[in-house]
């Protein structure tokens, strides 16, 4: 089973790939305000990539309300545990 650090390692890969920026390091508090191109359409791409990488489907109602990467990591942790 993945621990939280391993989840964040994978999330960093996803974010670097989607935003085409190798310098991105996401943390619990990283939000759309911290990454210039992160808008609602990019959020859809992030959700799709996370679903593929971690092999689960988000509860759509929860996905709509995600405020930062930490909340996303919480859901992933729950889903894969």
């Amino acid at each position: 089973m993945m621990n939280r650090n391993e989840i964040f390692e994978k999330l960093n890969e996803i974010f670097r790939d989607i935003f085409d920026d190798e310098s991105i390091v996401v943390t619990d508090t990283t939000s759309a305000l911290d990454i210039e191109d992160w808008d609602s359409l990019m959020q859809i791409s992030i959700i799709a990539a996370v679903e593929n990488a971690f092999n689960f489907k988000f509860d759509v109602k929860k996905a709509v309300l995600l405020k930062n990467v930490g909340e996303m990591a919480d859901i992933i942790e729950n889903e894969i545990s």
Binding site: S31, L33, S40, I44, L65
Partner: protein, 306 residues
Amino acid sequence: MTKFEQVVDIISERNPLQQKMVHSSLENLTQDELMEAERSLNFFINELGSSLSEVADAYMWFVEESFREQILFMRSNGTKYLCSSFAETSHYYTDNALMRNYVVSLATSLYLFPQHIGCLRFFKDSIKNIRGGQRQKNNSRYLEIGPGHGHLLVTAMENSDFESYTGVDISMESVEMTRKFVHHCLPERGNCNVINQNFFDFDSNDKYDAIVMGEVLEHVETPEKFLLKISNLASDNAFIYISTAVNAPWIDHIYLFKTVEEVEDMFNRCGLYVKDKYYGVANGADYKKAVKNKLPIVPAYILGKA
């Protein structure tokens, strides 16, 4: 600070994903557009009794529902909307509370979604520049299908001089809102009639010198029949404006256009041809990127009768 700017601030506080886009949209509005947005907001407050917070709520409902639908659309690899028949969505049009929220959110998005403000500008520029005398002749008629919140209709009335303006909308709530909005903006004008009817049932022996339909086609099970009816109702040199939505999942979108070419081919099959066009892309994204990633596009057209 205007009321509209206050609404933008409320939206920004509630959703970081919206913050950048709505502030960028606000900065790009002209002074006239900002005044129009403010007029729209004053209408909601004074005529509908809405608060600024309720307007922001309506907008957030729209973006959150839209986001939810987009996730599900993405999971279908862009192959289907959740609903595909009018029987599944027709109840929305008689749900007055939902329709009010719906039209308030759409009217607000008109000034905050780059694709919507782009279409509004395209429409306004086009109707201002009508040539060929349609506006001058006696009994010249303007017909709008699905005026919804009434903003296109008011824009048309302010920028053209047809003798009569008719709106046909399937939702009574939209009819009432359009009537009130026209009266709010142009109280001295008595040449506008808004009818509660399904356009399929709209019966007229008249020909129209302008036919306008903003983002309605995707709500219809058989859009070709709609277009054929428009083509038959239009006079030979009519001004025809139609916009629709491509890859844009939404609660009552039932006809999925996957490309703008599909839309344009359908026009050709219905005796219409494209004179001018504008492609508005969700969030102001690049058009090629939108096509590649199946992002929502709102194409708007000025059409002629073939």
